[in-house]
């Protein structure tokens, strides 16, 4: 938030002007609020780089020529009207789209400079590095403990029983749930309230120590109090994790994210500093969307 570029005047390059630039590290889309990405790149290097990403469901194209950089240890919010491709994009980042038979992804998506769609990549390892939290809390029909222990178990992260217990306790604590459930770790996870279930799912994702956590509208099924708790948690988590969050709530995007990307009809409209996007969007569609004129 203390980015010096914030005060810079806005340069609104039209269309795909950056693609003509020789430097490939510049996002090929209108970038708001910063003319020079270098200072940000120092403390927050590019974690996930996407270029020319197209996604098809059968014959229907859901994403068009998407290019965006996700920066490390920051919260990037993806906003835009329903059906604009936010969830599709987030599901590309840990290849959850693989589970959809008719989905086809083309283009380049790199995690730390490594193409995640290359044949050398093991999806299992990728998903251990890029965790995901879904819109609807989906705890397994197991105990709270087993829910969190699930990931460490399948990846063999715990050396022994005490080690596993430590991982579970740490993860639940980080997810802000431990105090509420410490006396009933053996109770079924499905018996928790919606907000607790969602934090359990976050704890479950943290337990495998991912580098990136994807969140697909994590609060849309929660009440305002539970939402506030999850938002606090997200703000806390960004110290250690790169977070990409899809949200329909403008306030939420403004509250939790440092960078915001606006999607529309399968295209990335613009991407940049959250404050800049919300105070001074370059694109009319973004302006209309965040002021509630459509969407």
């Amino acid at each position: 938030m203390s980015n010096p570029d914030m005060a810079e005047p806005i340069t609104p390059p039209a269309g795909h002007v950056a693609e003509e630039a020789a430097d490939d590290s510049v996002a090929p889309v209108a970038t708001v609020g910063e003319t020079d990405p270098a200072p940000a790149a120092d403390s927050h290097p590019v974690k996930i780089r996407s270029r020319n990403v197209d996604v098809f469901y059968g014959d229907k194209q859901a994403l068009f020529d998407l290019g965006i950089d996700i920066r490390a240890r920051m919260v990037t919010a993806l906003i835009g009207p329903s059906g604009c491709g936010k969830s599709t994009y987030i599901r590309c980042l840990n290849r959850m789209n693989d589970t959809i038979e008719i989905a086809r992804v083309s283009g380049l998506i790199e995690l730390d400079g490594q193409d995640i769609y290359s044949p050398d990549i093991d999806v299992v390892e990728l998903r251990a590095r890029v965790g995901i939290v879904f819109q609807k809390p989906n705890p397994f029909p197991k105990s709270i403990f087993e829910n969190v222990a699930y990931g460490p178990r399948i990846h063999g992260l715990a050396a022994g029983k005490t080690d596993l217990e430590e991982i579970v306790v740490t993860s639940l604590t980080r997810a802000g749930l431990f105090e509420e459930v410490k006396d009933r770790l053996e109770d079924p996870g499905t018996g928790l309230s919606g907000g607790q279930q969602q934090r359990l799912c976050i704890a479950r994702a943290i337990a495998v120590s991912p580098e990136v956590i994807l969140m697909d509208e994590p609060c849309s099924a929660l009440d305002p109090i539970a939402t506030a708790r999850v938002e606090e948690l997200i703000d806390d988590l960004r110290k250690n994790y790169t977070i990409v969050i899809v949200t329909h709530s403008m306030q939420q995007a403004a509250r939790v994210s440092q960078r915001t990307a606006m999607f529309h009809l399968g295209y990335l409209v613009e991407e940049g500093q959250t404050d800049a996007i919300f105070t001074n969007p370059t694109d009319k569609r973004t302006r209309d969307y965040i002021t509630g004129r459509y969407g």
Binding site: R127, I132, F134, Y150, I154
Partner: protein
Amino acid sequence: MASTYLALLIGFALAAYFAGARRAVALSAGNPASLHSRPAYHGFYAAILATAPGFAVLIGWWLFGGRVLDRIVGARFQVLLSAMSGPQQQAFIRDARNLAGGIVYGEPTPEKEAAAALYRSLFASTDIVLGLILAALAALGLVLALRTITARRRTRHFVERFVRGVLIACSVVAILTTIGIVLSLIFESLRFFQKVPFLDFLFGTHWSPQSAFVGAGGDGEIDAGVFGAVPLFAGTLLITLIAMLVATPIGLLAAIYLSDYASSKFRAVAKPVLEILAGVPTVVYGFFAALSVAPVIRRLGDGMGLSVSSESALAAGLVMGIMIIPFVSSLSDDIINSVPQALRDGSAGLGATKSETIRKVVLPAALPGIVSAMLLAVSRAVGELAAFALGLVLFCMTLALNVIALGVVARYRERYD
């Protein structure tokens, strides 16, 4: 003649429907909103009033009319019949009725001819009476309906109540049939246990009921010692056990493949094909077991130096297992499919492989349902082996299995929906 009446009633119902609907449209005077119920409901109202009593009379006549006629004929020939034994009386009445219907067995006696003539005249007169009653009911009903139809008449409520009544009647028929079967099983079994001590039956080790009866006709002495059910139960349990050992792994793994691995195209073809197996009649499986499987098993046994009978439980169990594979796999497939995709996604999102997801998340979540599917399969397998006086015991066993299965299913629903 009764079927002609049925056709006429159906035709009349159609006519009454249109008459009622038209009357309603006429009453609405071009403003459909002025009607309380849509014209179709007025049509159904008229059709129900005009023909429902007729249908009831017709069904009642089909159920009880024959018996009434038998009583009348029996009363007329009482002197003759009282000299006969029970089965002979029944045979006399049956022959006379058949004779009246034009079916002649052997050389009818003059008495039977006379009874047949009485039947014929009764048939003719009841047909006329029935026709008159039906016509009167239909005419009265239609007049009443057309008289009472007004724009604000709540015919929709009437029709809805009538539909509910019909549905209740149908479920009552199903329930009564089941109760009847159970009662007849109980009473037949009680009669059986009067002749054969219960404990001898339950713990006896000799089973050959065909040698129990000295002569045909049933009234002779009964040797109670040959109704020992232990061999039969042991055989049933052994065959069921072998069948489940065959069907559980194959059916379950096939279900897992179909629900989680197969492409949707393959699934669309393979599942119906598998379900066709369930439609193959049991007797065909029996043939298959006796003619193909049993000799193969005997030869295999011979090859290993063992002597295996051609009627081995192994052959029967194997084939029974194959028989219930589609049952197991189809049910399990449905249950596995009903595990929410969100759970699979959650597991995959943590980096679990497909088989880890299935073993650690999907199967535990589906386990109660799968167990109940297995129990249903067992109860079907046991049911196929049901025989004769064992009916009650086997019935109790399958009932218990079904109750357990339903209980498990109920708990499963509570937990995952």
